[in-house]
Structure formats: C-alpha cells, structure tokens
C-alpha cells in the first residue's frame, strides 16, 4: 500500500507546473502531497513492524526494483491529462472501499492510518470521477482521448486486486478486508461512473499482472532512478 501511494504520488508530482489550468495544477499537487503523506505513515509503520531499524526513507528510497510491490497501474507514465485522470480514477475507486474497510482493521495503527487517508481519498475520488465524466461527456476530442486512456489502462486494473499468501493471512487475521469484496465494490463504482461518462469497457479482457510480486513494467526503473538519485549518489547523508 505504501508503494502504491509513493509511486503514484511521485507520478503526480511530475505534473507540478505543467497542469492544463492553474486550479488543476494545485489539485494534482494536493493529491500528490496526500499520497506522499500516506506513504510516509505506512512506511514508518512497516519499518517498525519489520524491526530491522529501517526508517521510512530507507524503505522508500533504498530498495531494488523487484522489492517494490506497487501495482502496475500506478507506475504507468502520466501521458496526457486524460491518462492521468483515468489512472487516478481506477486507483481511487479501489482505495476508497479499501480504506473504508481498513478503518475496521484488527490492527489499531492501520485503522488509524486508514481513518486519516479515507478523508483524503474521498476527495480524490470525487475529483477524478468528476473529471472522467466531464472528459467523457465533454467534446468529441475529449471523449476519444479519455476512451483511449481507458482502453490502455484497463488491462492493469486487475493487478490492484492480485492476492498472495500475505494478503490471505492478513484477511484471516482481520487486518485486511477480503480483496474480492473490495473488487466487487470497485466494479460497482467504476461501471457506474464510466456509464455516466458515456465510456465503454474495452472488449479486450487480457490482464497484465505482476506488480504485487515485484514484476514491473519497464517504466518503474526510470522512475526509481529519478526518485533514488540523491540517496544513491550521496549515500548515508542527512538532508
């Protein structure tokens, strides 16, 4: 979860200064800030549980590519504004029910992080869903562009819900909700918004998975090269 927040937060921060209107520049930066904040909280907690003395920065900046477990969706490049919005929408629609359920986690710290993140995610979801509808039902050009973004990104959406042994164990211990249930809620929201946006789910149902297992797309390496640049070039220093 921390990796999802970090990588998507990083991607959104690339927009800073380049947004289509000033208000959107501010909105995307805001969402980026929230995600980086979530990543910080989650990494701090992960480091504590791990117990090897790694802090949030070591976890965020000093792992190898394979060790990042973010979904393939969040590492995809920004593309045009429509691509960024569609990526955000597919992600927010997953994060919203997830955080909602995690507020009832058996782990008090996770529940607390979820509580705070849920407030932010509600705003993110509203923002991205409204833009999907606006672009889908806007002009001919915007419709075509956002439909193309959906066509390209749809194949990565199932990767959000890939389960593994850790996920199964977390579900059994009541730390995490059932990921299948989250997927059900995601589908309901996504289908409803896409319909309002007059967009169609692509026919091609082939799925690209692997992010949760550390098997990424070619894009992540470049993102990490930039993200990790200072920590790698100037090791063991304080900033």
């Amino acid at each position: 979860m921390a990796d999802d927040s970090l990588i998507l937060g990083h991607r959104l921060s690339e927009w800073c200064g380049h947004g289509p209107i000033l208000e959107e520049d501010i909105a995307l930066t805001n969402i980026s800030l929230d995600l980086i904040g979530q990543a910080t909280n989650l990494f701090q907690y992960a480091g504590k549980i791990e117990g090897k003395g790694r802090d949030e920065d070591q976890l965020a900046f000093l792992r190898y590519e394979k060790e990042y477990k973010n979904s393939l969706l969040v590492e995809q490049p920004n593309g045009d504004f429509g691509m960024t919005i569609m990526r955000q929408f597919l992600f927010d629609a997953y994060r919203l029910p997830l955080f909602e359920a995690l507020t009832k986690s058996s782990d008090a710290q996770i529940a607390a992080i979820a509580e705070k993140s849920l407030k932010e995610t509600k705003y993110h979801y509203r923002h991205s869903a409204e833009w999907v509808i606006r672009l889908g039902d806007g002009t001919e050009e915007s419709h075509q562009r956002i439909q193309k973004s959906l066509d390209l990104l749809w194949r990565y959406s199932s990767d959000l819900f890939t389960s593994d042994d850790i996920q199964t164990e977390a579900e059994q211990n009541g730390i995490s909700p059932s990921i299948e249930e989250i997927k059900g809620l995601w589908s309901k929201n996504v289908y409803s918004v896409l319909e309002q946006a007059t967009l169609v789910i692509p026919d091609n149902k082939w799925e690209q998975n692997g992010g949760r297992a550390g098997k990424h797309s070619e894009h992540l390496g470049y993102l990490l090269a930039e993200l990790q640049y200072m920590q790698r070039a100037y090791p063991n220093m304080e900033w």
């Binding site: 200064g17 209107i21 000033l22 930066t29 504004f81 606006r134 806007g138 930039e226």
Partner: protein, 319 residues
C-alpha cells in the same frame, strides 16, 4: 473644458485619499495610468509566481527524502496559489486572466529574472528559499501597505507563506553547510550562483529606475530599490556567516559609520541581458508554460462543453 476640470477634480480627490492612506478599491475612480501601472506590476508578480514554480519543480522528483519532497511540493503549490490570487487581483482592475497569461507567453509581459537561472543541485532549493524568497519578502512586505486594496490584502497572505518558504530554504542550506564536505561544497556553489542574481531582484539602481517616483507618489511602492537591496544584504550576510558560507563578493565589508554592509558593483549588463531574454533559461521557462496551456486546451474545452450540456439538461428538466 468642464470635463477636463472634472477629471482634475477626480485626480485631486484620488491623490488626497492616497495621501491620507485611504485604500483604493476596485469600484473607485482611478487615473488610467494608475490602473495600467498596477496591472503591469501585479501581472508581472503573478507571472513570477507561476514561472517560479518551474526551477523548484525541477527537483521535486529528485528530493532526497520524503519530508523534503512533501515540503517542496507544498511550497511550489503555494506559489501556484499566489499566482491565482494575483491574477484575481488583476481581474479586479479589468484585466482578463487569459489575455494576461497570453502576454507572458508572447514575451510581452515580464517576470522576475531570477527564474531564468537553472537549478543544478539540491542545494539550489535551499538557496532559492533562503535568498530568492528572502529577497521577495523584502520587496513584498511594504506591498501589504500598498494603496490598492485587493493587492495589499493578497500580499498579507502571500507574505505569511513566503516567510515559511524562506525558513525552509534556510533550513535546507544550513543542514548542507553543516553536512559532509560534498554537501558543504554543494551549498557554497549554490550561494555562488544565486547571490548576484538575488541582488538583481530588487531591480535597477534608483538612478536608473524611471517608474519609481510616480509609484512612490501613488504608494504602490513604499521604498526604493536600493534601500530594499541594502536591507537584504544587511540581513543576509550575517546569516551566511552563521552557517559558515562565504558570500562571493570580495568588496563586501561592514561600514561601522553607516552601520551597513558595503558591497561590490552589480553586473548590470548581465541584468539587462537576462531581462531582454538572454538568460540561461528564458526560452525554456516560457516555452514550458506555453506548452502547458496548449496541451490543456482540449481539457478546458471539454470542461466548458460539459458545463454547457449540464446546464441545458437542467433547464430542460425545469421546463
């Protein structure tokens, strides 16, 4: 004849208000030249905030840790916010936001030349906060008492945030100055590159600043360029000493009699060349903003079309 006399009377009353420190508000009568001067100054200021996002934006994706990344993002976001208030302040004077922005893209409107210098290392984030925001505060604090109400009020809020920016910059550079030899060198190098351009931020020297006298009379400007520059030097030199960095000026010395620092001659040729467009990044900065607008054209068109459709649907339901 009577009309000319009316105008004289309006001008007299206008100046009387200014002399009595009564704020001018958007619906009040004001001389055309006052309006034009304000539009020019506020829009330049707005453009500086927006273009100023780019040199720092250049390091957001390479910030060295999560905390620095978040703080830098928040800072650059504040600048976008300042740009928004300032464009709004401009609109109260009858200037259209889109046209104002187009003037930036066509090269007609200027912005602070400091943003035409590149950011080459992480230490530049420190130098910009410390020096550039520091200089901006010196320029902007007097503007909180500017005669034009909306501008003065926008400046109150902007100054609060700028002072936070200045502190975060100083914190970055101090940390580096106390760090490893590589970090210290990085900090000194940033100071070397940003010192002189920061002094240039106060504009030409008073002998060479044609608009200043009128702006002072209208209380748009409260202090001269050279006064503010001197204040900046006096405040900043001890800060550099405190963190063990050397100001790149061999003529710099304390004058006990005047209680001010004396400093070397500014390279005014460089200043005017950068103003004319020959700085290291003039082309890149404007081109980036122009592209952002161009690439966002379809998004703005979609937002307008959707709002229109929605309005029509609502009207149809009402009918």
């Amino acid at each position: 004849m009577e009309k000319a006399q009316d105008i004289l009377e309006l001008e007299r009353r206008f100046q009387e208000k200014i002399d009595n420190d009564i704020r001018i508000e958007p619906n009040d009568w004001m001389p055309d030249a006052y309006r034009k001067t304000l539009i020019r100054q506020i829009s330049q200021h707005a453009h500086s905030e927006i273009v100023g996002m780019l040199p720092e934006g250049n390091w957001i994706t390479r910030a060295p840790n999560l905390r620095r990344k978040a703080v830098l993002l928040a800072k650059v976001q504040d600048e976008a916010g300042h740009g928004l208030y300032l464009y709004s302040a401009c609109e109260t004077l009858g200037a259209d936001r889109e046209e104002t922005i187009d003037d930036l893209h066509s090269g007609k409107a200027k912005y602070s030349s400091i943003f035409n210098y590149p950011t080459l290392s992480w230490a530049d984030m420190g130098a910009i906060g410390w020096l550039v925001d520091g200089a901006a505060i010196m320029n902007q604090v007097p503007l909180c008492r500017c005669s034009y109400g909306p501008y003065a009020r926008a400046m109150v809020r902007v100054c609060k945030e700028e002072s936070f920016h200045q502190r975060q910059g100083f914190e970055i550079i101090s940390k580096l100055a106390q760090g490893s030899p590589e970090q210290k060198e990085m900090a000194q190098d940033a100071l070397n590159r940003f010192w002189w351009p920061s002094l240039m931020m106060f504009g030409p020297s008073d002998d060479d600043s044609p608009n200043s006298a009128q702006s002072m009379k209208w209380k748009i400007k409260r202090n001269s360029n050279d006064e503010l520059r001197q204040l900046f030097v006096d405040v900043t030199v001890p800060q550099a000493e405190m963190i063990g960095l050397k100001i790149p000026d061999n003529d710099l010395k304390w004058n006990e009699a005047t209680q001010h620092y004396e400093f070397g001659e500014i390279d005014w040729t460089e200043f005017w060349e950068v103003v004319k467009g020959n700085g290291p990044c003039n082309y890149e900065r404007v081109e980036t903003r122009r592209k952002a607008k161009e690439n966002g054209e379809w998004v703005r068109a979609a937002a307008v079309a959707y709002a229109e459709k929605k309005k029509n649907k609502e009207l149809a339901v009402e009918a």
